[in-house]
Amino acid sequence: MASSLTLMRRSCRFVSIFATTSRQSSSKTLAPPSLQTGLLLFLSQRFHDVETVLSWIPWLKNRVVRQKNVFYGYTQKNFGDNIATAFYVLSLKGGFRFAGQSEWFRSDKRGKFNWDFMNHRDSPVEEVDVSNTLINYTGLDNLVKQKCLRTLSLSGCTQVDDWFLSRLHVFQDTLEELDISHCPQITEGGLAALKNLRVLRRLDVSQLPRIQNPGLVVILLEEMLPQCQVTAAGFDHCLMDRHTQSDSQAQAP
């Protein structure tokens, strides 16, 4: 009883007044606690449980992302860094190209892929296309060992954020092309970290919904990376038509 009352007090402030009034009336009529009070007590007893259950939802949602981005330690130990990277990228439904080869390995829509890449233990990965996948900061663990990575496409990755960009410095001596267009989480704060990519030649920052002044940011980016060609399609559109931009922002979750 005591704990339920404490809970009740915590969860709804007005209950104290409510309880007083009900007590007053009950002293006159001697009626049992009204249905409403009972319901309130019942609900408040359950309230924290409801809250706990609700708090599982994001955890469950994130579970898929976490599973996709686990560290491929076993593969790395047994087959080497390159195979681990390749396997990780294919499991994400992405594609990659080994250095010195022209053909790409990709997984199909249903996530099926050709296991031939297992024969190339010694070829480092040169190009990675993980656009529209669930790659995130932790998943990057599987890529950081690649010392020849030249192209990275992250277009439309919902989990790529500023912390992810700040970690790209591991490819600072090799990365030449980076595509981060349509990433809903990226802000100016992360773009500043691209400064570390010394040899970057091409950067695509089109349609980043969380950037407030795309025009200014592109100018600042060009200033920061003078040797790099910054693409920002859809940016004129943003300047001219602020209305549609705010619309699309409102739609973004």
């Binding site: 009883m1 404490t6 007590r23 809250e51 410095h169 704060g189 970290a193 940011v217």
Partner: protein, 508 residues
């Protein structure tokens, strides 16, 4: 009416040892409403009140019987009054205080397992250093403890929405700028920088050393005269909005059931136990029983019975420690060692310089002590510097000394980045460092003589960035009885008694 405004009630404490009476001053809406409605004639009124009083009395008695150890009353008491008892009282609701509160709740095993109260004297946070800080986080320290604290905190900030998101509320957006810190060294300190770099790499921080040529190549707008070595943080370094972090901690902690109260801690009621140590000397141990919380704009204070007190009062924590007699004991005894934390005023100036370096401006710390970082994208920067030891400004107010910028900061600034020769000071503010006069490092842990006071203070300019990890450490100390994730025993109060400073080399 006056009898209604303040009537006395007797409350029994949980243990039932101590009985005292307490006045509750409150105007419940219920009472006022009732009074207005039935304001017909005197006899009726007093009858009605008598009746109601009796009923309330009976109800109160029943309620307190039903809930032993609870201070629940049928009235909506003044919400800012603290509860009569709490397990843990945290003095100071800055970022450190709220972080500790959050971690205590996070670590409690059962719901409502610990009752935590945060006492903050200023609801506007007008003088709290948290909101007046520069908001930077770096790993470029020399002390491994500080590096690990920053790494752990950066990890926390990265996953902040897993830790601090509240159901049905917006996710936390810290506005983190990943620009890194750039420390510059002249020939006198270059060897220290090199050693520090080794320690940092060993601890797992991603920091790169740059020669003046490499520096020039990376940041062409920097004048490298006098610079022999530079170190640039590549990951987990930058700055963020301190207010957002403070609010996120507070919001989450309150949602988890932490009590907050606005009032000033003016004193403690404690017991003293004299004991004799093996050398035959008398040592007096204190134990805090009650924290006196004074309500704003009133002389009234409420004693809060508690088991543990955490001193997280920032720059004021030296004063709070004095209230239990820390440092007031007889000379040359352990009790004469005071908590060496005092406020030191530091200025921050906002300057506007449209031709300044752009998006890539890191948080630069020059070997002269001058620092500057970008603020937003509109050509604004914030800059500051620590004054020399003998020239500490007066700490009675938060007024800004404009000359300090002209005379001390600007020359260094314009020399380091020539673009800043032309600039305009837009505004400025001052804040208090919680300055540890002994060794400029945090004091984290229990006080050896007051065996229920925990200290988390003395951060001297890097408390904001260490707050998540320090909060966790203190919570472990209280709930687990020892450090579990990060061993911070080197930062304990013992070092001050033993007179063994743990110094940070290259401190700013």
């Amino acid at each position: 009416m006056s009898t209604w405004r303040g009537f006395c009630m007797t409350a029994r404490t949980a243990q039932g040892f101590h009985v005292y009476s307490k006045c509750i001053y409150k105007h419940t809406q219920l009472c006022t409403l009732g009074f207005r409605k039935i304001n017909t004639g005197r006899p009726v009124q007093s009858d009605f009140f008598k009746d109601l009083e009796n009923q309330f009395k009976a109800f109160r008695e029943k309620a307190s019987e039903a809930m032993p150890g609870s201070d629940w009353t049928p009235f909506e008491i003044n919400r800012s009054l603290p509860p009569e008892r709490a397990d843990i009282v945290i003095v100071g609701g800055g970022v450190i205080g709220w972080s500790i509160a959050y971690w205590l709740k996070q670590k409690e095993r059962i719901r409502e397992g610990v009752r935590v109260l945060v006492v903050e004297r200023d609801p506007t946070y007008a003088q709290a250093s948290t909101v007046l800080s520069a908001g930077g986080i770096r790993q470029q320290f020399s002390l491994p403890e500080n590096i690990y604290l920053s790494l752990a905190s950066a990890d926390f900030l990265r996953n902040i929405n897993e830790h601090l998101s509240v159901l049905n509320e917006e996710p936390v957006d810290l506005q983190f700028n990943h620009s890194g810190y750039l420390l510059l060294a002249n020939e006198n300190v270059a060897h220290i920088m090199e050693e520090n770099h080794k320690t940092q790499r060993y601890a797992g921080a991603k920091v790169a050393l740059l020669s003046p040529t490499q520096l020039k190549e990376k940041f062409p707008w920097i004048n490298t005269d006098g610079v022999v070595l530079a170190s640039h943080g590549l990951e987990n370094e930058g700055w963020f909005d301190p207010w957002t972090l403070l609010n996120a901690f507070r919001r989450k902690a309150i949602s988890m059931g932490v009590y907050q109260c606005f009032g000033e801690v003016t004193g403690f009621r404690y017991t003293t136990n004299p004991m004799t140590n093996t050398d035959g000397d008398k040592v007096e141990f204190q134990r805090i029983k009650y924290v006196n919380v004074q309500m704003p704009n009133s002389l009234e204070y409420q004693p809060v019975e508690c088991a543990i007190v955490v001193n997280a009062a920032g720059a004021n924590s030296g004063k709070v420690a004095e209230m239990v007699g820390i440092g007031l004991g007889p000379k040359d005894s352990m009790a004469s060692v005071s908590l060496p934390v005092e406020p030191r005023k530091r200025f921050i100036y906002v300057v506007h310089c449209p031709d300044g370096p752009g998006l890539d401006t890191p948080f630069i710390i020059d070997y002269s002590g001058m620092y500057i970082r970008r603020e937003g994208l509109g050509g604004n920067y914030i800059t500051g510097m620590s004054p020399e030891e003998g020239e500490e400004p007066d700490t009675n107010n938060l007024e800004v000394d404009q000359e300090f910028f002209q005379d001390k900061i600007w020359p260094h600034l314009a020399k380091r980045v020539p673009a800043f020769e032309c600039l305009k000071v837009k505004s400025a503010w001052a804040g208090f460092y919680d300055y540890n006069t002994f060794d400029q490092n945090a004091i984290v842990g229990i006080h050896p003589l007051v065996n229920n006071m925990f200290l988390a203070t003395g951060f001297s300019g890097h408390g904001l960035q260490h707050s998540p990890a320090v909060g966790r450490a203190i919570a472990e100390l209280i709930l687990d009885g020892g450090f579990r994730t990060l061993d911070l025993s080197a930062l304990g109060f013992q070092r001050i008694i033993k007179q063994e400073p743990v110094l940070e080399r290259n401190i700013v």
